[in-house]
Amino acid sequence: MKDIKFFCYPIFQNYITPKLNIMIENVDFMQTMATTANLALWTTMILLVIGLPAAYALAYNDFKGKSAVEALICMPMVLPPTVLGFYILLIYSPQNFLGASLERYFDLRLAFSFTGVLIASVICSMPFMLQPLQNGLALLPKNYREAAYTMGKSKITTFFRVLLPNIKGSIISAIAMTFAHCMGEFGIVLMVGGNMPGNTRVASIALYDEVQSLNYDVANQYAFIMFVISFIALTVIYSINKRRHA
């Protein structure tokens, strides 16, 4: 323990603490990181609420067109985010039905706004939330549900008391994957939200901007933070999987 302290103290004192101080004093950096974290948090929360019932429906029901629905949900994993962003931007356009209706009835313009980016981010990150949840539910033995039903328990009680507690690992993996993916969102945010500081400017776009301006010190700050977040998220996922298979 003493040895670890001996080695860590100079690293913190000479490298990490000054870097953190520089980051905190940089208002633009903090604003961009706050927007990024805000987007990632909201996206993850919305997707968790939508994802749980959707994963249940997909895991336990067979219906016509199920493969097409699954393919559509997974499209963001293989489609370039710019393609998705382009279509979302078209839908948001006041020249189209949805964009025009939102503007006429709610005075709401989704293109180049945080709400617009949030909706796009929810669509784009959906497979990262849905797939682990759906797999987790599908892998649970069918007789857990059936046993609960024969005990007189409703589908909702069974879902919350039996199924969800037994897929805790999948839920944490889904949250970590979605959050980490959102933190690094680039193409879709740039297409739908542009690059407006304090509103739609997220870390990955800011990093690209700083590199273009040859501002490598600030670029390094963004890169370092995103590297750490991704590393933590993946470590969480791997340690959960390891514990599950132990």
């Binding site: 007789n143 857990y144 007189g152 039996v162």
Partner: protein, 208 residues
Amino acid sequence: MNKLTIDVKKLMMTNSGERYLDFKGEINDNEFICLVGYSGCGKTTLLRMLAGLTSPDEGCIKYGDDYWYEHKSKFNLAPQKRHIAYMFQDFALFPNMTVYQNIVFAQSETNHDKIKELINIFGLNNLEKVRPARLSGGQKQRVALARALASQPRILLLDEPLSAIDWQMRESLQDEILKAHKYIGGISIMVTHDKTEAEKMADRIITL
């Protein structure tokens, strides 16, 4: 006296192709029935139809004056409303709950005295706080039996409950099952491959 009247037909997909299950029969209150037959003959399917977990293609299932299933009127009572207990081959104990919580979960309104009674009957006193993953096969079976009885079912359905248990423990667990049957004071139907076991335990053997 509540009688279980069964008249069902079901096309089943088995490893050796399609097979038609056609069963007619009556089971009286307090009877312990053993269902025997070769693999794939439909023993488990029949048990699942009684539980409401599988739908018959035709016919009816009646308990006393209440219909559980009637093909003509397309009526199929949900498993939740049949007041049965189903013991699965692998026991289906919930891994997220302790032994005590598994038994409590089966009750519609928690009755701690009843649970204590069941824990005493099946000798689970030292295992109340243990999770199913740490139990032996025999202990799991006793927990599953206690859980099955906790909801005070009218009918106890047992799907090969002793298949995963070694022969030394079988005998004592057969007694536990008979104890459970007496406790509910209703109908018990057990699927088994073992004819000797069926002869020893059953009031009546039905061969499919």
